[in-house]
Amino acid sequence: MLKLRVIPTILSKGFTLVKGERFDGARAVGSPMQAVQVYNLRDVDELCFFDIAATSEGRGPDLALIDELADKCQMPLTVGGGVHSVDDVRALLAVGADKVAVGSGQFDNPSLVRSASERFGAQCVVAVIDVWRGGNADGVPTVWSHNATRDTGFDPVEWATDVAAMGAGEIVLQSVDHDGMMDGYDLAVLAAVTSAVDVPVIASGGAGTFEHMVDAVRIGGASAVAAAAMFHFTQHTPAEARRHLAAAGIATRS
């Protein structure tokens, strides 16, 4: 049967690996290459690499860096950050990304997901959806773009349904409120989105314990669980997470 994936997320700002909190105050914690090499040795299911400074610095993806990282990856690599055109997608695939994540780019270029999906196949186009409750006075979750600086006004379920219809083959659902807080995923938004779309959904933002991951699957209906801070700053490893999920009755790679 298809296994639940446990995915470490690497957040990068230029050449530096960073940890953020609620999409803000990122601090440097190491080099992306080091992180990729460690996860390769640890036999992880998949890796996500997000260049969180690309869009705000008005530049595209760092192709030379991705090329180097991808050479070291014996597992699937999803790359996001600064993807604004079909040419960006093509260039990332060419240097070794297996999947390309589109976030703010879809708001700047509304034909991006559809064109990339038609050209390269839905399986390599991942839509990143950043959901923030705290940005709204009434706490209603909406989709934000450009590093959570712009409220798009979209309801997460509505936007997820839209991007899936446009040809996104997978969705990374990120909670801005829980980003870096290690206090659990936003299960309500996750459950609403997973029950509205047919494509796999990766839960992201908030993982702090293995129980959070079990909840993301059981309550949230996630096909994969991503974690950054939990793997980078605690003793927890992806292999332990897989064992814990398996013990809870959720099939993972042994």
């Binding site: 296994k3 050479d71 196949g121 399986q123 083959g169 096909s223």
Partner: protein, 211 residues
């Protein structure tokens, strides 16, 4: 040392395939030049992308004709991976109906989720993304040293439906069951990505290199 041509359709990640084949001790060249195929011992046809666009690219470069000629007339072994496996088929239906290379008598069809929960929503999500088991149906040199039910990495929305069931070497349980490894003589295909499947993926590629 085995010389391997990795066919570049200009649409996909050939870098990781090159790296993986290189790790297996072969000398590989990434190429879109059909004349290169006459100089190698084996061909790898990798793949990400849409069937029609990839076939167009292979036709335009003359690669399609060269692959068929070398594989069929000169018995050069070929390994198609993911979309590359699907391109070996007679016909694909992604975006539009398109003729494939015709090296395996098969059609490429969209995966159809066959289980629904109480709300009527499919429980098997499509694309099929992630690690899933590969269950051998027949012995194959590709699977030498690889335990039954080993997990490999998949990411696809389409699958190959063989006309001759004997071409199906292994299956994977998803949307019912689909062919995850096919073989006819020296023509091989894997629906999963061995180059992205860690140690066991490397083992399968080494088995192909060592054929």
């Amino acid at each position: 040392m085995q010389r391997i041509a990795i066919v570049d359709t200009g649409l996909c990640n050939v870098d990781s395939m090159w790296r993986a084949v290189d790790d297996c001790g072969a000398k590989s060249v990434v190429t879109d030049d059909p004349t290169d195929l006459a100089l190698v011992d084996k061909i790898v046809l990798p793949g990400v992308g849409a069937f029609a666009d990839a076939m167009d690219a292979l036709d335009d470069s003359g690669m399609a004709e060269a692959i068929v000629e070398n594989v069929r007339d000169h018995e050069v072994p070929v390994l198609g991976v993911c979309l590359g496996m699907q391109l070996l088929a007679t016909q694909g239906s992604e975006v539009r109906d398109t003729a494939g290379l015709g090296l395996i008598d098969a059609e490429v069809k969209r995966l159809v989720s066959n289980t629904a929960n109480s709300t009527g929503r499919a429980q098997e999500r499509i694309p099929h993304v992630g690690w899933n088991e590969v269950h051998p149906r027949a012995t194959s040199p590709l699977l030498s040293g690889i335990p039954d039910a080993t997990d490999f990495y998949f990411v696809h929305s389409f699958h190959m439906q063989c006309v001759d069931e004997r071409d199906v070497v292994a299956t994977t349980p998803y949307c019912g069951e689909f062919a995850s490894i096919v073989a006819r003589g020296h023509v091989f295909g894997t629906q999963f990505h061995p180059e992205k499947s860690q140690a066991m993926g490397r083992r399968l590629l080494r088995n192909f290199v060592d054929l």
